[in-house]
Symmetry: C2
Subunit: 111 residues, 2 copies
């Protein structure tokens, strides 16, 4: 049996846990050198449909986890997204919680 202290309710942030949103956030967290990624770059990197990516970016923006900026490049609109501090903290917390769940499951299975 998993010890009592490891059996507190699972607290996985529902906004982050959705698969596409988790992919977007980890992608943005992994941006090196630059802090923003364009809609097209995220779409290509994660192989998401435009519709799904649009919806999930809006959801993440509403949660305050990402910031979206629109600007013009060669007269064409470009949408860019970046992880906010709030988003970075929430993602770290989610990953800590997920690791706790995995470690508890692995530990018990090995015993």
């Amino acid at each position: 049996m998993v010890p009592v202290d490891e059996r507190r309710p699972v607290e996985l942030d529902k906004i982050i846990h959705e698969r596409a949103r988790l992919m977007i956030l980890t992608y943005l967290a992994g941006l090196e050198g630059k802090s923003m990624a364009s809609f097209q770059e995220i779409k290509d990197a994660l192989d998401l449909s435009s519709g799904n990516l649009s919806v999930q970016l809006k959801n993440l923006e509403q949660a305050g986890y990402i910031a979206i900026e629109k600007r013009f490049e060669d007269n064409r609109p470009v949408t860019e997204a970046r992880l906010t501090q709030k988003g970075s903290r929430a993602l770290t917390q989610y990953m800590d919680e997920m690791e706790r769940i995995i470690q508890a499951a692995r530990k018990s299975a090995a015993e």
Copy 2:
């Protein structure tokens, strides 16, 4: 940027990724000494509604990830569930994949 080899598409098993199902599977994986848990035990441990637990157990059984047995105890029906080998393998694979995602995100963020 996350190195190319770490940017292959995320392959998180959709059956396992759903929050309640992930909780059920990790709970069953963590059963020590005994291999089966009753409906009531799982319900209490994970704080799920009877309706939700019922639906998710059926989904997991259909995927072949758990086996469900019904028996009578003191003339009352008792439903019990256990992780199958297929379920155990799928859960291990899911946890490996999730750890890969987390490690890639943490590594990039630290660079």
